[in-house]
């Protein structure tokens, strides 16, 4: 922090730093670091570091998972997206929250019963294949880094917002350093406490300001009513609800409030603009809504299946004492994050009425900062102090958001490096102390790489980056886990083929759209204009990539049926039999004899 303060003092401030905002943000950082130090003395064994000694209670664990899950994308990105795209963007918060249902129904219980430190452990244990562990590790790191970049972007933009004049990369470096220190000190047990605290901070930070704000400027539904639908001739804005004029770049009311708006019809709209003949235009117009429906379904599949396949979330299930606790935890997580996700869209809706000027800017200066910007409006309404305090609270929430998600990712990626690569591949005979040391080094290495990557993504949109990570997870991990848990006939080759082909194709097609959008590849951009359907399928690949991955798994497994693990029945029993029967103990004993776990 000293370095930051010195840097700030040296920097000629272009605008005044709001002392309340700086105060609340600093408190969040200090408490986070303090809790990390406090728990550092209590985390001793390797188990404490990797899975928090497997003894985290349901309440703590549910708060911690929720704290880890609610990232910068949820806290800032969702509100910004709803403001920008209206109804279509509502699918994001809803599916972020409800995707957990799939996890609960099909994966949480069996995975916990199987009992392994990490997903690669599960991959190896289920198929008796060290090779498959390596493949799984690569994917953990891969999806992890994809998910880290938007958190870093959130860190950089929030700090730049709080301290005007501060360079974007300084925020990335400071936050990266703080969290890396925290994780390498306390490991999983350390961050469990911190993340649980950060969940409650985030809920406080998203609800309190909006309740105060709504009581002064009008409520959610009143501001929504101010937007007219296609049927209404005049907006039925209730008395006393003020609304600023929309700026030129803002979407029209009837498009914003209704389904199939600007987000899902963008590809076709661009094609229509470029169409030369009226016939072409008419044909594209006719396809607009069906394509838009397709986009919506593909987005839903990516978000729902992707949640169930995020490696940093899955590893938390191993911190439950048993399968029943794992299920109860998921139930509470759904309630905790569901309660949270009701609120970001409220910021988006009220923001559309009161801060339409944000539509004119892009990226971090645009709608992404509506959550931070909205409370300051109170300053102009005879509540200067209240406005500053509330804005300080939402800034603290934003801090908690990217810090907790990044620490969770750092733990799962460091575990992958220390436990899977170092402990299992490089030096299998290493002592627990050596592995602990490896964990700390791994955290530092991953932290540095994340910071470097984070400084490269300033131009990209937060929620877009997160969406990429979800689509890739949906096409790789979700089919792997789902099929491995429920189908006895899976072989290692089938699982690996499906996961790799599905995941890599999803990645490749997303990359193609990024190429033209961000790096301005004109030939590709022209191709998208000519083929809007292909563009939609590449931007949202889940609708074909998930079924493709599952089909490949089935086909290749059938072809290689001779290589089904010999003790598959026992493995399936461990995955599914009630823990009261004590089968896991037997399984572990059997394997100890073989020099396994």
């Amino acid at each position: 922090m000293h370095a930051l303060l010195a840097f700030l003092a040296a920097e000629p401030a272009t605008k005044d730093i709001d002392p309340w905002i700086a105060f609340f943000s600093l408190i969040t950082v200090v408490v986070t670091v303090g809790m990390g130090f406090w728990t550092a003395g209590r985390s001793k064994s390797a188990g404490d570091f990797f899975v928090a000694g497997r003894s985290v209670s349901v309440g703590w664990n549910a708060s911690a998972i929720s704290g880890e899950y609610l990232s910068a994308a949820s806290f800032m990105g969702v509100a910004g997206m709803v403001m920008l795209n209206g109804y279509d963007a509502l699918w994001y918060p809803v599916c972020y929250a409800c995707g957990y249902l799939f996890l609960l129904l099909f994966i949480a219980g069996p995975l916990r019963r199987f009992g392994a430190y990490t997903i690669p452990d599960f991959a190896e244990g289920r198929y008796d294949s060290p090779l498959f562990r390596k493949i799984a590790v690569c994917f953990v790191l891969f999806i992890g880094f994809f998910y880290t970049m938007p958190q870093m972007k959130g860190a950089g933009t929030t700090l730049a917002y709080i301290f005007p004049g501060l360079h974007y990369s300084v925020g990335v470096i400071v936050v990266g350093a703080v969290i890396t220190l925290n994780v390498s000190l306390g490991g999983m047990k350390g961050i469990t406490l911190v993340q649980a605290f950060q969940y409650w901070l985030k809920v406080f930070a998203i609800t309190v300001p909006i309740f105060v704000l709504a009581s002064i400027v009008g409520h959610y539904q009143q501001h929504l009513a101010a937007n007219k639908t296609a049927q209404e001739t005049v907006a039925a804005a209730p008395a006393g609800i003020e609304r600023k004029d929309l700026t030129p770049k803002a979407p029209k009311d009837e498009q914003w409030i209704a389904p199939f708006g600007s987000l899902t019809t963008k590809a076709v709209d661009t094609a229509i603009k470029a169409a030369k003949t009226p016939e072409e235009k008419a044909a594209l117009e006719a396809n607009k809504k069906p394509y838009s429906l397709l986009y919506t379904y593909s987005l839903i599949i990516a978000l729902v299946c992707g949640t169930a396949g995020l490696p940093h979330i899955l590893v938390r299930f191993y911190t439950n004492p048993d399968g029943v606790a794992a299920k109860r935890t998921t139930m509470w997580v759904m309630i905790l994050i569901g309660v949270f996700y009701v609120f970001p869209p409220v910021y988006g809706v009220i923001g559309r009425s009161l801060t339409p000027e944000l539509y004119e800017a892009v990226g971090s200066k645009g709608t992404d900062k509506v959550v931070l910007e909205l409370p300051t409006l109170l300053a102009g309404r005879d509540h200067p102090l209240l406005g500053s305090i509330l804005s300080g609270i939402t800034c603290a929430g934003a801090f908690a958001a990217f810090m907790s998600t990044f620490s969770g990712l750092l733990v799962s990626m460091s575990s992958a490096l220390a436990h899977d690569i170092y402990g299992r591949m490089l030096k299998p005979e290493s002592s627990p102390e050596e592995r602990l040391k490896a964990f700390k080094w791994a955290a530092v290495i991953i932290g540095v790489v994340s910071v470097v990557l984070g400084t490269q993504v300033e131009k990209l949109n937060i929620n877009y980056l997160v969406g990429q990570a979800f689509a890739i997870a949906a096409a790789s991990y979700f089919p792997l886990l789902f099929m491995s848990v429920w189908w006895r006939g899976m072989t290692m080759r089938g699982a690996a083929t499906g996961m790799l082909v599905g995941g890599l194709l999803a990645l490749g097609s997303i990359f193609l759209t990024t190429l033209s959008d961000v790096y301005g590849f004109t030939t590709l951009a022209e191709f998208w204009v000519a083929h809007p359907l292909l563009r939609i399928l590449c931007e949202q690949p889940a609708i074909w990539a998930v079924p493709l991955s599952i089909t490949l798994m089935i086909v290749v497994s059938k072809m290689t049926a001779a290589t089904i693990p010999a003790d598959v029945r026992m493995k399936m029993l461990v995955l599914h039999a009630p823990e009261a029967l004590g089968l896991k103990q037997e399984y572990i004993k059997e394997h100890e004899g073989l020099g396994g776990h």
Binding site: L90, A258, P259, K289, L573, L583
Partner: protein, 103 residues
């Protein structure tokens, strides 16, 4: 691989495993269907009945109210029912296995 002796043989039979998995999968799929039907139906209703879904309810449009507010409690209900049933199912399975042991 040798069968351990500490648990009864019928637990290690294919029939027991098949019954176990079928019971669990049936419960999971039934709950998933409720969820999937809602997820498929809402965009479809928006597509086919746009005017009906755009009518105002307490200031929200009907479809906004369903997706932005009511969807969350709906999913909580499904997960609550699933957890109750699944714990009951596990208890029954464990009980059945223990009974088999004493016979």
């Amino acid at each position: 691989m040798k069968e351990p002796h500490s648990s009864p043989d019928h637990i290690h039979s294919d029939a027991f495993l098949a019954r176990l998995m079928r019971g669990q999968l049936k419960l999971s799929i039934a709950c998933a269907l409720c969820f999937v039907v809602a997820l498929v139906a809402l965009p479809l209703l928006n597509y086919l009945q746009p005017e009906f879904m755009a009518q105002r309810v307490f200031g929200f449009t009907l479809t906004w109210l369903i997706l932005g507010v009511l969807f969350f409690p709906f999913v909580w209900i499904i997960s609550f029912v699933f957890i109750q049933r699944s714990i009951a199912l596990e208890d029954a399975e464990a009980q059945a296995a223990q009974d088999g042991l004493t016979k």
